[in-house]
Amino acid sequence: MSGHLITVFVPRDSAALSVGADAVAAAIRAEATRRDLPLRIVRNGSRGMLYLEPLVEVETAEGRVAYGPVTPADVPGLFDAGFLTGGEHALGHGLTEEIPYFKKQERLTFARCGIIDPLSVEDYRAHGGFRGLENALAMSQAEIVKAVTDSGLRGRGGAGFPTGIKWNTVMQAPADEKFVCCNADEGDSGTFADRMIIEGDPFCLIEGMTIAAIAVGATSGYVYMRSEYPHATATLRHAIKLAYDEGWLGDNIHGTNRTFHLDVRVGAGAYICGEETAMLESLEGKRGMVRAKPPLPALEGLFGKPTVVNNVLSLCSVPIILDKGGDYYRDFGVGRSRGTLPFQLAGNIKNGGIVEKAFGITLHELLYEYGGGTITGRPIRAVQVGGPLGAYLPPSQFDLPKDYEAFAAQEAMVGHGGIVVFDDSVDMAQQARFAMEFCVAESCGKCTPCRIGSTRGMETLDKIIAGKNVDANLDLLADLCDVMVDGSLCAMGGMTPYPVRSAVKHFPEDFRKKQHAVRVTHIAAE
């Protein structure tokens, strides 16, 4: 064979693995050996078009050509069709970057995800990696914080607090020790962006955390991972080891007299540990009980020291801000929602995956132009946005622009960008009940409205669903929701009513299905 070795990409992202990417990689290797065709297989992250996984790509002179979803049985046919030179095949999609789903996106945070080998520092650097950190190493702390403040970046974990202001508080807090903690406890159903970027571009998170540490004067940091993400945890641990080996972490980072030590800690299946103070308790080795605020974690956080707590996507947005400047990032978006958000299309959706777009895109565009409607082919009846604590919205609300303020006005959440789609077979009374049930299971138990309110809420919904005193019980439920919203210590109890209230408001008929039947039985009995 002459010429350079052909490179084939088969993702190692968990979602791709969950539909057989390993078997596809093995089949390609075996078929290449059988045909005596030498090739190189790179296990990349996912491009985010999860409906096409396993998505196999081949490097050609024109660019990478995509085939998917590929099964091991398709592999001999792909070779016959000449896929190694971009040949046509029924599973072919042409150049990956010309696929409309991908082409129309604005990839800032996910710029490298799916393109590089996630565990190659060399590949990371070749695609702009560590440029932001190199800039930061030459800047003063205040200059770094100013760049992040100027970018308009707001916390991507849910609350949307301005990242630069948080960093400034920690920077100015006098202390003998400070921490940077990354909240990777991505527990919201319908969200998987943290997992994807940690598996597909882990150095981006390491770089973002190191920049944060330099900015605020922290020397140690932790990434709090979910135990449900073993693959992401293994990838991140390996990437941290490589970063130490290459001098990007540890003492005297590249001879600059800056020090940052980073470690991974794994949670143990408690949703509440996604709340920042519960996460800090868990990192300290305790029960994940929510702390009252103040004091803010920025002043008294991990082990009582000033601590930056940021979400994975916030920290992964930092390298590009320091690389290209705060203005570059701020030029994307609308109003007070600047930059981009990786929206996640999930549940009953034809084309599920990551769509990174500037704020201001509407749900309608996301659900139909990208998502292609439901996978079952039935009409969309409801979407839940922002995780299990987010509102259920009916199609009449799909023209809302996705920005923090427009959504907050509807008790909906931009949150972490997750969008879960339901078709018309959904029973919204059951979904409301589930919201309460979830709160019963996951409440830390510290405050009464959340701990007891959720149990009473579930019981009340059971009565409504059974058709018992529906009007009175709906009034009681509304009252209970008010108490939970106003009286809970954190968002767990404070927002569990959002999906419940929105289900009652937009889908009232689902709460009265049995009412009529019960009334008829009563009359018959009398």
Partner: protein
């Protein structure tokens, strides 16, 4: 006790130690609680409180494989409730139960991060998407026949538990 020694230097060492114990023995034995309390200078109530707070920590020996079925909203939208019913019937166990032959322990889980390819199931540390009842039966049969049939985490990446930070 080497597990305690290996992790003692970590700040907030209790969770890493409990994870290491569960990885080694499959569960947290009742006898470990007073031992850990003494070693870490905590009260037994503190240790018990932590073990019982987190869903992930088990108090009884599990089956050879753990099956986690996602019950969260995205999977619900794709029929997770029917899948759960099927699995319970097929394995003849309820949640947290272990099959009579000791092969599988069934656990509910809220979100495996595979929400675009629902419903999702995790068998040991291996994730599966678009799991229909038939696909579940295949996976269970394959796991019984060959416990490593679906290993997704390369050996090079596993067993790297020791951190760098002090």
């Amino acid at each position: 006790m080497t597990i305690v020694e290996d992790n003692r230097h970590l700040r907030g060492a209790l969770l890493p130690i409990l994870h290491a114990l569960q990885e080694e023995f499959g569960y947290i034995d009742e006898e470990a609680i007073p031992l850990l309390a003494t070693e870490l200078n905590l009260s037994r109530a503190d240790v018990h409180g932590v073990v019982s707070f987190y869903h992930e920590f088990r108090r009884e020996k599990p089956g050879r494989h753990t099956i986690k079925v996602c019950r969260a909203e995205a999977c619900q939208s794709m029929g997770a409730n029917a899948l759960v019913d099927h699995i319970k019937k097929r394995l003849q166990v309820d949640f947290h139960g272990t099959t009579a032959d000791g092969a599988f322990t069934l656990e509910p889980v809220f979100c495996l991060g595979n929400c675009a390819l629902s419903p999702a199931v995790m068998i040991d540390e291996n994730l599966h998407g678009r799991v229909s009842p038939d696909r579940f039966d295949e996976l269970a049969a394959e796991t019984r026949a060959n416990p490593h049939a679906h290993n997704q985490i390369p050996r090079a990446l596993s067993h790297s538990h020791k951190g760098h930070a002090q």
